[in-house]
Each structure stands twice: as C-alpha cells, then as structure tokens.
C-alpha cells in the first residue's frame, strides 16, 4: 500500500468510527478512477445537517486536526487539517447534484479492508464545470479524455 493509500485508509477508518456517510469527490476521486492528476487535499461530499457537522468535529478531534470555517453556518465547505493531511467536507456540489443522486451513481472502491463510495467521473466533471475555477478548468479535458478511454476499454 502506498503512503497515500495509508492516509486515505486512516481517514476512512475514522469516518466509519464517527458514522459519517461521505462520498469521495474531487481530484482524489478522479485519480482513483484513472485520471492522471495529483492533489493536496482530499474532498468528501456530505449532507449538511447539524449531526453531520458534529460528526465532522469529532472526526477532526480524533485525528488531531484543526477545523476551519466550522462556525460559519452558511459555509459550503469545512476544512480539517493536520500536518499529515488536508480533508475538506463539501455540502454542495453542482446545481441539481443532490447527495442521493451522486451516491446512486457512485462506485465502491476498496482501500485496504475498507470500501469507499467514490463519485462517478461524470458527476465530478459536472461539479468541476459548474465550479468553473481555474484549477477545475485545467483538468476538465483530462477527465473527459479518461471517460472516453474507459468507455473504449469497456467495449473490448
């Protein structure tokens, strides 16, 4: 297992411990599905409820992470970080991308002995198109190209 997988596994174990249902999104979700990208943070999509915000607090506390933006009720992202990792919890993806819809199209990937729900490349593509930030725009073509190649390989 690579050092990156060990970090992800540590996060998945803690998410399970605090019973927080989360879908892996962003560049890590892309990388795990073949897109040649690397990133600095690990993004999870969660439902915005008070209980989930408390679970995120507990997650951060258990992993000795600092919490940013947690007091802002209108915030759509909570960032948790320590010297080893940066984990972002996002409450909203693209317009019309509800948690249930994204989960329905997600895939399950095994990391160590844990399974993680990973958003489909199509959903990530939609969210990145809508986010429209320069860092998202930069990898749109790579995601589209990976989807094309994946479809081609699946034909065979």
């Amino acid at each position: 297992m690579s050092p990156d997988e060990i970090i992800l596994l540590k996060i998945l174990k803690e998410l399970k411990k605090v019973k927080l249902e989360a879908i892996l999104v962003g560049n890590v979700a892309c990388a795990l599905q073949g897109v040649p990208v690397m990133t600095y943070d690990i993004d999870f999509f969660v439902i915005d409820t008070n209980i989930n915000r408390k679970k995120i607090n507990l997650f951060a506390k258990n992993l000795n992470m600092q919490i940013l933006k947690i007091n802002d009720e209108l915030s759509e992202t909570i960032r948790t970080e320590n010297k080893e990792m940066v984990v972002d919890f996002v409450f909203r993806l693209g317009h019309n991308q509800t948690f249930e819809k994204v989960r329905a199209k997600s895939i399950k990937l095994k990391i160590g002995n844990f399974y993680v729900n990973v958003a489909s490349l199509n959903d990530i593509l939609i969210s990145k198109k809508e986010a429209n930030r320069p860092k998202d725009k930069a990898i749109l073509k790579l995601i589209e190209d990976t989807i094309k190649i994946k479809n081609e390989l699946n034909k065979k």
Binding site: P3, E5, A31, L32, V35, D145, E152
Partner: protein, 62 residues
Amino acid sequence: MNMKKDDAKIFRKIAKYEEKLASKFPDIPKHDLHLILRNLLKPKSWPKRFLLRRLKNNIYVP
C-alpha cells in the same frame, strides 16, 4: 534493467493500447493517453499515488 516479467507484460499491454487508441483519439495528447492507460490498466497491486506534499519553500511534490 531489472523488471519483473509481469510488469513487463503490463507495459507491453499499455503500449499496445496506446498504439491502437492514438489514431482513434488524435485530440488526446500522447503523453496523457499513456498516463490514462497506465492508470486504467495497472494491476491492483501497484501502488496508488494521488497526494502532493508541500515543502517548506511552497514547492509541491508527490
């Protein structure tokens, strides 16, 4: 060079698809095509790398 036979087989497979798909998808840069195929065809046992680390001088490294 010391390369396991199994690994050499994977690289041959990647090269084969690369050749086949390059003409079908001329809009995909060859460099990207190789990396995508490598990621999609690599065995589960190969390590997955996706995180960058920030060095003190604000340089990011895998």
